[in-house]
Symmetry: D3
Subunit: 285 residues, 6 copies
């Protein structure tokens, strides 16, 4: 009985968090170990199910993880390079799309549905959701890699209103019907911005932004957009962390209230971030 009463108290502690976030939109960029480790993945899907059940509008954006390379390898598709940049030719794009839209996307849908909630897997082609154009890097055409030029939120909104959790593969389409691979982190920014989301959560394999990468206690829990920009300039944020943090900054500037980098390797990381005072990662606002 004692045990049960304590559990009831835990539920009661959630009241203010439920009140704050009910009816709000949270975009989750799902990636890293949390996509591969079956146990962690199952817990993340439970978190998503709970958030949806208590009235939060969840939109999931995923990347391809290591699966695209695996399949390219298996299909003996070799990569071309121009000036050191890997090129996504038509066949590579087709294989990437098969993996993103036909494997990962539908697996996530299935994993959510194991918790009794209904998800719908779409790509940016569906309902012309992600309008893209070819990305030119340093004047070099690297093939079917695209930037988002517009997000049509009608399909996402339609699915939310019908009670579904939209799961989005980062694939776009231009007006001629060409298909483009989109960086999932950027896709999440564009989608969260277009939806005027309350939160954007990056599920990653790092604890967040650290003052000193060797000191686990140096996690920065809250950073303003201005601080982030200064930290990039000063070199405190460096290397692979820069594009991630730039996404966070960009999302806040597009109107997202708060953006979070959390460690997907921690059990129930999303719930911990949203339902505790301190959170577990770095929050940008």
């Amino acid at each position: 009985m004692e045990k049960h009463i304590n559990k009831a108290k835990t539920l009661i502690e959630a009241i203010p968090y439920i009140q704050s976030f009910r009816g709000k939109t949270v975009v989750i960029k799902y990636g890293g170990s949390a996509m591969i480790d079956e146990e962690i993945k199952a817990m993340m899907m439970q978190d998503i199910a709970l958030l949806k059940l208590i009235g939060i509008e969840i939109v999931l954006v995923h990347g391809g993880g290591p699966f695209i390379n695996e399949t390219l390898h298996r299909m003996n598709k070799e990569s071309k390079f121009i000036d050191g940049l890997r090129v996504t030719d038509k066949e590579t794009m087709e294989i990437a799309e098969m993996v993103l839209s036909g494997k990962i996307n539908k697996e996530i849908v299935n994993d959510i549905e194991k918790n009794g909630l209904k998800a719908v897997g779409i790509s940016g082609k569906d309902g012309m959701t992600l309008k893209a154009k070819k990305k030119i890097v340093n004047g070099i055409d690297i093939g079917y890699v695209g930037d988002i030029v517009d997000v049509d939120t009608n399909l996402i909104t339609c699915l939310l209103q019908c009670g579904y959790i939209p799961v989005i593969a980062p694939i776009g389409r231009d007006e001629e019907g060409n298909t483009y691979n989109i960086n999932a982190d950027y896709a999440a920014v564009a989608i969260a911005g277009a939806l005027n989301a309350q939160k954007l959560v990056y599920v990653t394999d790092v604890k967040g932004v650290m003052e000193d990468i060797n000191d686990p206690k140096s996690l920065i829990t809250l950073m303003t957009v201005n601080e982030a920009k200064k930290n990039i300039e000063s070199g405190t944020i460096y290397g692979g962390m820069i594009p991630k943090v730039e996404c966070c900054v960009s999302a806040v500037e597009k109107g997202v209230d708060t953006v979070h980098i959390i460690d997907g390797r921690v059990e129930h990381s999303i719930l911990l971030e949203i339902f505790t005072q301190e959170g577990i990662g770095t929050m940008f606002k």
Copy 2:
């Protein structure tokens, strides 16, 4: 962190219960110690707030507890008796109504609102919700005591659709506009039946129905309507328990899925009954 993860796990365990009861209607007859002990009362209001927040339609029916007698006493109102039955004359009725609709009802509203949710206190007069007629006991007119002849659920439904928690004082009205005091247990049955509620929960000062009243381990957790009737006949259920159990039987017969007698003295008793497999009291179905 460990502690937080365990709390997250507790929230996750709630998923199947939330899925079962979302959108369903639960009528709670609120009474006994849970109306008097401030700490218990606060916890019960938290339970109600949580249930509402996760999408359960809560309707509260309350009685008058000891407050009516206190006020009658303070106002030097003496009771008349006919053939040993206490008579509710017009003045007694007016005082009872002041206490029920003007004190207890609004206090409950206030207590719920302390948790950030909005409640609306009404009596059966409002929106002509409870149509009553004079109760005649053994051919004796005991004054303004009534039986419910019809429930107009429009006001309750209107309040639920606007997002409020209706709190109902058990006072009815006949076609001429006379006011009647209604037994709150019976009022709860009539309201739950008219709303086609999923659950009716009686918050009481007993553990439930016991096989042996002296053996706390003899609690009967589940009883069918037929068993209940047999137990009354055989004397296993006796004394003050009979009318309570008769209410439970009547509610099931009016279409309420399950009726629960729970011990309001236990902390978070409502959550324990609804969110655990075993529950804490006796369930009738």
Copy 3:
């Protein structure tokens, strides 16, 4: 037949008034003799029923009349005074609330329903309708007397849309859940302003504003807000009339189209004010 035809002609004369006010909101502050004299009260409820039936959205605000003092007296509750100001301590507040929400409010509901229309009695606590804060007069804390700081019109609007006549007791609540007694005249102003009402009608025991208080023919039928302010300054309006007129001025300034002081002692005073060219009292605009 002749008689019936004349009655038909009277109904026909009402056409332009019905056309003007259908769908508009009229807030009525109900008080004075019209709350006590049974015959006058019955007629007023008929007026309200008719106005509702022809499509006017009626909201009733009432005070406590002499009933609160009567009950305080009966319960042997003595009043404390600080610097000559009467103090509403917690117990006084509780008794006042019982009388306002449990007696007067529900009696009005009942009286309206005798005409076949449905009313709902609420106080400012219900749906957190009236947010209040403690009133400090000349630096003295006189207890649980409050000023309205905000009106949440959601509950009133919800009840109107469901077809009910809201009847409001002037009791407010602060964020901590403390209860405050509010002056009913001020509550009516705040509510009419928040609802953007077409009319606010004060049912009083005076004929209206008179040029010469001893000359019944000197009734001023129309006064602008500017004239009212000048008349207060010049002393033409004086004594007990000042706060009433200040309420009228304040309501017009909050966006109410016209505010009326009418004599509730006259039979069918509300209909006479609304359905005749001249009206019977003083109209402010």
Copy 4:
């Protein structure tokens, strides 16, 4: 003042009638002197305006009165007869339609609108409302005279929902697009039946059904369908009254609650019939 208070009392007396008929549908067959006498016509339009304003759904069906013959005469159109039956040839039909749809119908619309309410004049061709077929009398083809085979109520319902008073000229159309003149009394029966109207009121030039046609006091105020049939059989109802009463019987049998024959020459006859206990004509049910 006295006079005004009496008028207010008259309005109050209307409350139960308004409550009974609000939201109900009343079909009025408008004809006889009430179409010609300007004063009577104006009063009838006032009655209709008032009924609409208090929430009754009014549908007007009119005939052609003497205007069709006048116009035929003026246009030197002679009538053909076959076996003593007057034949409506194509040209006669065109002239009748011009008078019905282009003159009478729009005049009624205009007369209603003088009271500030909005009407819409249609014929049975509009929205394919009245589907007709050629009427064959005793095996003789008398031209473009039709019987109604179906009523499509969509247009009438659409206009009512948009707040208009539909005014209907009794002209029908078959599947090939031929135009037919329909007897207005029959058209009213078909329309009232299809709308499942509460009342059908025939505005005529007689007081109603009399026991003794020479004794004005012998008016029968209420007649059941069975009594009506017996009275026709027994000859108590005879001559020109028979088809009128047959219409009343037919309407009741099609589901109209009550059918009324009233004397349109009486001022405000419709209000008198609907808003008084006794009414002024004969009611069938």
Copy 5:
């Protein structure tokens, strides 16, 4: 088969036009030979049916063609003249209204309905759609000829939402209920402007605006409002064409996207104008 496939290809070619105009409002001023030649009329009604079916909101405005004079003549109604201007006295107005609202209007309704779509014929009196005032030409009162002062689009919008094609006779009404004949070309401008229509199409007996009236190849297919004004000033547009072109200019200035003068004598002229790149007449924008 070949033939059928070619027809399918024709349907396919319509896709971009359907996409452009679906849900848009097109007002058609119907007049000239297309009102008289039965074959052309039938084709025009087919065009209208098709446009409605594919989701274009069609509103038809018609004039009286030669029919009013014919009927005046037949009824021996002679015309009065003041200073050379023909006067529309009350009787002339009544006859004109009978012809417009009772003959032409209902014939068009019938002709559309032969294609299985439902139309509703109204005049500007219905729903007080066209508010008019007397037109004074050079200080001379020429009787019941009016200018539109306001368009109440509620009835037209109501009919469109219920799925009907409104057919409007150009008759207006002032506040006193006087009836006025309105020039149909002007009525079409006022209605198209008030509806914020996408297109206004004038069905006429000319090819459009020509550079050289004797050279059929000199048709001007597109003219801006500024060009039109210059062409009137310079005399390129002259005579009877001036008021027509002034209507086109006025409509564009009231917010209509494009206005078209087309030759109603050409088969399926409306479809040709809307569903081909070049169109067949002159388009103003």
Copy 6:
């Protein structure tokens, strides 16, 4: 001009077909050459776009064509056989799903969107649309091949109401979350039945059912369900045609009005079947 007028006439001929099918649901099973030949595919997508534009609710179900085998081959995935039956092991299922949901499904979406209409590609996993169970053939477990046990039409209906064309890959899911490959012909039957579709169209590589397979003129254009059953029994329908015809019979028995086998190799075959009297294939009813 002549040419354009003829095209207009072709559009006009479509009126009765548009009237018949507007608002109806048509399920198209898309397969065979029409999936491979780029030109034919483009025309089919135009047909679908046109049908959607004129108000028909289109739902597309597709199979995998030769693409699954191609990809299995390319990924060096060898097939296992048990008792001569090919087994769909987990890896085969994953590859099949990638091809169906990640390649073919999204290509169809893209091809439709080239015509300016919006499509959404889903599989039976999305929204738990297709509930499946393992198919056991002759007692042998052939792996992840499933039968549909239930269709949840909520997602399809949601997408139709939001204006999208649903494109469905025939993949199902059981309660444990296992994925199954479903025969697309059967999936189409289940979906059309559950949607209560007006039509189910099988796009195939045959002309339809022939009396004599060698005589192209012996096409049977209409067959009742009873005739179909008899023809299977008698051997007139034989070989590979049997399962297709059984699907048609089953769909009619599930409430689909008509089922069509058409030759997808013919240009605009769908339009020809729906918009001509004769159609081009065999219709079952």
